[in-house]
Structure formats: C-alpha cells, structure tokens
C-alpha cells in the first residue's frame, strides 16, 4: 500500500526496522506505511512495545530505517531536522533553569534571527496560552505534574516546528488533569499551526484529539486499522460522552484486542 497525496506532510513508506539486542535481532516494524496530512493530527495506538516510539524516532530523523523511507514535505528524511518538536511522558525539564529558560532551550540550539526580547515574548505567549502565566520564573520542582507537562509542550513548540511529536505525553497524569491538557491541546492547535503525531494508549484521548486514529498490530508492527474521525479540529469534552464516541471506542478496542492476539507470548 503506497499513500501519496499532495497535502501529506509526513509519509512513511514501507518501513521495516530491526533492532539488534543482546538476545538477538528484534524485528520491530514490518513494511509500515502511513501518512499524516499537513496540519492534521494523527494518533497512533497499539500494544505496548509494538514499535510506536520507534515510529516517532523515524519521523524525527533520529533513526534510519533498515528498509523503506520516511518523507517529509516530499523530501527524504535522513537526519534530524529542527522542524520537529518533541514531548514525552517524562517532561524532562532542566531543574537548574527557570520555566521560561526551559521553554527557551530550543531557540538556543535552532538557528534563528530572533532577538532576546523576541524570544522571550514568544515563550511568554506560549506559556500564557497553556495557562502558565506567572510561573515563568519558577523552578520545575515547584510545579505540579500537569504544569510541567504544559511547560514541556511550550518547549516543544517554541521554535515553531512543523511537526509536534507527542509520545504518551499525558500518560502519567490523573484523569482530570489529563482532560484539562486535552483542551489545552485543542487551544494550541487553533493558535499554532502544526501537524501532530500523538502516541497514546488512551483510546479516549486518541478519539478526542486526533483527526485520524491508526492502530498498529503487535510487534513487528504494521498498520492494522486506520480510522478517520467524523469530526476534525476542535471539539468539546461533552462529545466524548455521546453514543457515537462510545461506538468509536468499541471499534478501536476491538482492533486493539486483535492486535494483541497476534502478539508473541511474553517470554
């Protein structure tokens, strides 16, 4: 299956990848193909250890696939490119820096011609957008888990990346904080143009945030199921509790069940 479309920003084309581990070779991806349209938001779900994070590392150019290729705006990805922003489950903020200094980190690395005050106002705008105004000069250790994750999102976006890669970013947060952050994500999407790739194990999160949910099979992973969401762009939490949403959840749950069946039994 080859997906080629003019408005696709990211195209993963027949990628296979195998890791060499102490206990032999571990095939992780098997002829995986998928694409994410520009300004779209795709969620990738699948059994744990199936290769989701590996996919994000491929997209970020941190890893070269054994076979197949990754395309970004029609260009082949061969090395890291600063048009990517990343946030993980662990917000990994630098404890010795204030929140705003943490957010500014990418601008110290990515070449840009912003003045110091431009950079700061950029960071301040983002912090305001995620509700962290007034915390600019606090240390990360003074913030709650949800607030750290918000700061981590700001850092991922401060250099205006074209792709935002989120690898289980809200996995460690409690349910209420998580819902708050979902709404923040929609707000960010409205204000900041970016293309999102979200790895998650929370199917609710996937259908609430994404325009397209991709279910990966068990390892070695390939695309098992691809579901377009009826509603694209921002939506309200109420919709999550409507029957349509439940229907969608059931379909995805069934797909995950199938994906896990194909899993090798745990050694």
């Amino acid at each position: 299956m080859k997906i080629l479309n003019d408005n696709d920003l990211i195209v993963i084309d027949g990628v296979s990848h195998t890791f060499n581990t102490n206990s032999g070779s571990l095939p992780v991806l098997d002829r995986l193909s998928l694409s994410v349209p520009e300004n779209g938001f795709s969620a990738i779900v699948g059994p744990s250890g199936c290769g989701k994070s590996t996919v994000t590392r491929l997209v970020a150019g941190l890893l070269k696939p054994d076979e197949g290729s990754v395309w970004f705006q029609g260009e082949k990805v061969t090395s890291p490119r600063s048009t990517v922003g990343m946030a993980f489950q662990n917000p990994v903020l630098l404890e010795w820096r204030s929140i705003i200094k943490n957010v500014l980190l990418p601008l110290e690395i990515v070449p840009n011609d912003l003045s110091a005050s431009d950079r700061e106002s950029r960071a301040n705008d983002l912090l305001k957008l995620v509700g962290l105004s007034g915390f600019e000069d606090k240390r990360p250790s003074e913030l709650s888990g949800g607030m750290r994750q918000r700061a981590s999102l700001c850092r991922a976006l401060v250099h205006r990346p074209e792709v935002l890669i989120l690898d289980e970013p809200f996995g460690a947060l409690d349910a209420f904080t998580r819902e708050d952050l979902w709404l923040t994500m929609h707000r960010l999407r409205e204000e900041e143009p970016f293309t999102g790739v979200l790895i998650t194990h929370d199917l609710r999160e996937a259908i609430f945030l994404a325009d397209q949910v991709i279910v990966l099979s068990g390892r070695p992973a390939t695309v098992q199921y691809n579901q377009s969401m009826p509603q694209q762009g921002p939506r309200s939490l109420d919709q999550l509790y409507k029957p349509e949403a439940n229907e969608m959840l059931n379909i995805l749950r069934e797909q995950i069940r199938i994906a896990r069946k194909g899993e090798e039994p745990a050694a």
């Binding site: 970020a60 941190l62 890291p80 990343m86 662990n90 990994v92 404890e95 690395i109 250099h159």
Partner: protein
C-alpha cells in the same frame, strides 16, 4: 546567625567534655593530651604550624585538582561509552581497593626525595575514584529523552554535554568532591608522615612522635581537622553556587 553559633557552641561543648574526661581520669599526656595542653604546643611551634600547614594545604589542593581533572575525564569516558565503562570499571575498583598505606612506600621509593611530587601523587590517587564514579553515574543516568529532544533539534554531542549532561551531573560531582577532600588530606598526611625529612603537618606529627611530645601530636591532629573543615566548607560554598538548584528547600 544560627548556622555560625550552633557549630561553635558544639565545638566548645566538645572541648569541655574532652578536658573533663582527661581531668576526671587523670590521664597522663602520653595517653591523652587535654585541650589546655594543646595551646602551649601550638604556641611553641607557631611558625612551623603556619609554614607546614600551608605546605600540607597546597599539596592537598593540587592533588585534589589533579584528581578532579583525571576523575572527570575518566567519568566522562565511562559515562558516555558503555564499552569503556565495562572495561575500566573493574580496573578502577581494583585500584581503589588497594590500601593506599601500602602504595605510600612504593611511591616514596619511586621518586626518592621529591616530597612535593610524592605527596601530591598520593593525595590524587586516594581521592580521584569517587569523582570518576560520580561523574560516570551522572552521565550514564541521563534520561534518553534529553538526548532525543536535543538531537532532534540538531544539537551536537558537545552541546548536549554543556547544556545538559554537565550541569545535571554537578550535584553528584560535589557530593563526591566532599568525600574526596577528606580522602586527599589522608593521602597527603600518609606521605608526609612516612617521608624522611619531609615537610608538612604530617612531618610535624612524626617529629612529635620521635620526641615523645604528645601535646604536639594532638595539636597537629587538631590543625589537620581545622584545615579539613575549611576545605570542606569551601566545597560546600562552591556547591551552593553551582549546584544550589539541586537542594530541596525545606524551610
């Protein structure tokens, strides 16, 4: 204020207790000198205490600086490369396990008469291990997410080291440095005591022993303790400046 008074108060209590213990048991000087005997000993040899104290101090500091340089280098090599860690670690552990008292005469024979070199060398050898270990652990436990975030932005290994790995390792480094300071003093004194015609507080201690001047020996111990405390708190201040962020604020 409290931070100054409490330690001084504790010191006075300790000296009083010591004095009382000697007085109550009526111990002779060769068994245990009392604090009141020490002052005359200091006064008689005040010139030597100053020059030899300085001698001991600078040798210890130079030994420490070399230990920092070598320890950080080894730590970086082991922290960044798993292969190097696997290869070097057993060697370092073995080297560290050798009691330095046995190395002292060997080194003394290797560089006969070069007291400064000998002493600095032992101070270095005894104190670099904790530094190497702490830096390597600090670097190897760097969360992979940091690396991914910075590399995805196109940062070089050097940038990752300067911006993240190095500052992140500082708390562990200073923790190790506090241990290393004390060890380095032990190293310096081992050598100073053993070297014939040596200089430094260790040599003064040795001459006290030769001349059965027991108060002098105790006075040297006190002088060493004072130097040790001073250097230790220098490290504490540096730690506050460079790694103060790692402190959990409790008040």
């Amino acid at each position: 204020m409290r931070q100054v008074f409490v330690p001084i108060f504790a010191m006075i209590i300790f000296l009083l207790f010591w004095e009382g213990l000697v007085w109550v048991n009526d111990w002779p000087n060769y068994k245990m000198a009392s604090p009141s005997d020490l002052w005359p000993a200091f006064w008689r040899f005040k010139g030597l205490f100053l020059t030899f104290g300085w001698e001991t101090l600078w040798r210890t500091i130079v030994g420490l600086l070399i230990a920092i340089a070598v320890g950080v280098l080894f730590g970086m090599v082991m922290g960044f490369s798993k292969v190097m860690r696997e290869g070097l670690y057993p060697l370092l552990v073995g080297f560290n396990a050798i009691p330095k008292a046995t190395v002292v005469p060997i080194v003394a024979l290797m560089f006969v008469g070069q007291h400064d070199l000998n002493t600095v060398l032992i101070a270095f050898m005894i104190s670099f291990f904790p530094i190497a270990v702490s830096v390597s652990i600090g670097l190897s436990t760097l969360e992979p997410e940091y690396r991914d975030i910075l590399r995805s932005l196109g940062a070089s290994q050097l940038t990752i080291f300067w911006k993240i790995a190095l500052p992140k390792t500082l708390p562990e480094f200073f923790g190790a440095l506090k241990v290393a300071v004390t060890l380095a003093f032990i190293g310096t004194n081992l050598m100073e005591i053993v070297s014939p015609h040596g200089r430094g507080l260790g040599a003064l201690f040795d001459s006290g022993k030769t001349n059965a001047d027991y108060p002098l020996m105790f006075a040297v111990l006190i002088a060493l303790a004072v130097l040790g405390i001073a250097l230790y708190y220098v490290v504490v201040v540096l730690e506050k400046i460079f790694a103060g962020w790692a402190e959990r604020s409790t008040d």
